[in-house]
Symmetry: D3
Subunit: 130 residues, 6 copies
């Protein structure tokens, strides 16, 4: 079982990341993902900076839609932790049951058609290569 590192037991390097997570998310709660990554501080720091930039920086895709994309990937990979944590995050950002249903329908259908395309060995249309 992975050791989950609490703030009290954390090194200065880890605490700096925890502090930034708290400030960015405006909550005291640090979820288990970060407490586990804290076992390898460079991975904790790099992963947090990546997620912060990718999920929360200004851009053309709004924060809720970013969560939906993240969930679609996690569901495709079957990552239980990520599905649970990002479904919770998406609800906080406004995802309702109807939206989640649509997301699952798209994710399921894409996984189906991906295999139909594989199995039938379909050549890419010339016009999609441009």
């Amino acid at each position: 079982m992975t050791n989950l590192i609490e703030y009290e037991d954390a090194s200065e390097e880890v605490r700096t990341v925890y502090d930034d997570i708290r400030a960015t998310r405006q909550t005291d709660y640090i979820n288990n993902f970060w407490k586990a990554l804290a076992n390898h501080p460079p991975t904790l720091k790099r992963t947090w900076e990546t997620l912060k930039e990718v999920m929360a920086s200004p851009g053309e895709i709004d924060p809720l839609m970013r969560e939906l994309i993240y969930i679609a990937v996690s569901v495709t990979n079957g990552c239980e932790y990520c599905i649970a944590s990002h479904t919770a995050a998406a609800r906080t950002k406004g995802m309702n049951e109807q939206m989640f249903g649509e997301l699952m329908a798209i994710t399921g259908a894409a996984n189906m058609t991906n295999r139909l395309a594989n199995g039938y060995q379909i050549p890419v249309d010339e016009q999609f290569k441009q």
Copy 2:
């Protein structure tokens, strides 16, 4: 190599689906995916009806965002045909280079964190189980 069935050579059952694809998309072009599925008409019909409902019926996620979710899944699965065809579809619906860049960044990051969560065997936080 899969036989691609052209309209001229198609059965009545297949033509009905091709006609609906053309009417729904307002284009004469039928891409290879459907011409390949036409080798098994029930799969052609069911898959078209599924995609039409899932990708094009009214809902809370807009059509462009549906394409982005579809691409995220196809990229995760490495389906070359689906990546090419839906990237083209998304561009038609307004996806620009910046948006595609953000989409790839989220898809890549989710694939990374999915494995970090797997590898560290992180228990799901109680508050994500509600």
Copy 3:
């Protein structure tokens, strides 16, 4: 590019496997898969013995159905070589277009429902645990 090792250039160890492939399949043709694995003779030998036992030994699942199962896995994983070679093998053993269509339909549907089960985080029914 992987070096494909021809019979003429093969070591005694590799030739013994090639001979067994030819005898078992009753054809002189050695396909590229084996010519590539021959770069590491222990892997060639072990993989051939595994496939021979798993795909061709007497059992309760008939040889054609074994090929269908193999294709379903290869399509799910998106392995182009394996899809092409085992679709050819299955046709030799009697797979017709209708059967292939059904196989793709099942494979596609399972890939879809796998993700719906993941995404909705569905608890396993007590009666399925027995």
Copy 4:
């Protein structure tokens, strides 16, 4: 945690699907998969109709073999719910321990050879392209 919708609490639309599941399977039991999908009635209806057509309509692959193919996909994807539910379904349709053993052997071997083909970057033989 996904809300599982019981018959008593279901809308007319959902009840119609539940009734058809019961009639088709000749059992009163509705498993959790459907009770979860009932949160999004269009997905419940479409998924049930897909599975009914794909797994239970007349065809060239018999019902037990369809279950085996379904299991091979679910095992490849690591979908715990689907493995548990369809292994139970396959046993009901006649799968014995020996048959399950053969199925696992094929599924495992295909997953291995898929990666050997990927890693050695093996070109598809000309004769498999026809």
Copy 5:
């Protein structure tokens, strides 16, 4: 639930494999993986011989590095049992927390860049084809 076959209840064929596992690993403990595979003795025997050859025979990659490679694959596939058992095995062979952190960092990064390469549909450089 899979029946786990204990030594006392095992056939002669299964006991021979269990004896070899014990002798090779120099421990009396047989873990659940083998007790489950014992339900299909040919799969038990073939899988043990494969793992023994692949993970423990003399070669150019040392035993600890083989475990790290095994874990990287299992984490990518999300196989809970395999992650738990081979992480334990790797620790026995000398993996420390720092090494595990580096392993997870590489595994996560590769999963990310694999998708960036897929999504951007990047053509393989000529010099990598040689």
Copy 6:
């Protein structure tokens, strides 16, 4: 087709990354992966910094073994570009044919046993949970 951005056409931001790639690798050659990511400069910069830290910073796993782990992941995911580019990189760092053979054998075997563990629904041994 993704636009590959050459040094001559690159922005200052992109050129800074290209310069660092050249300096770190001590070669003028920029491979297509980076030229494609350059379409979204923040992803180019973040991905390069991640790979540089993960693959090239001092640590307990040596650079060649890091490449082997990276290849194992890419082979499992079936990423053609990544397999080709990192197999080339590993050869530069000393990987010979024998080592590559062992790597493929481990990667293939792990993909097989991952599915056997999934399919038999094997409970994790208590001693692996510590």
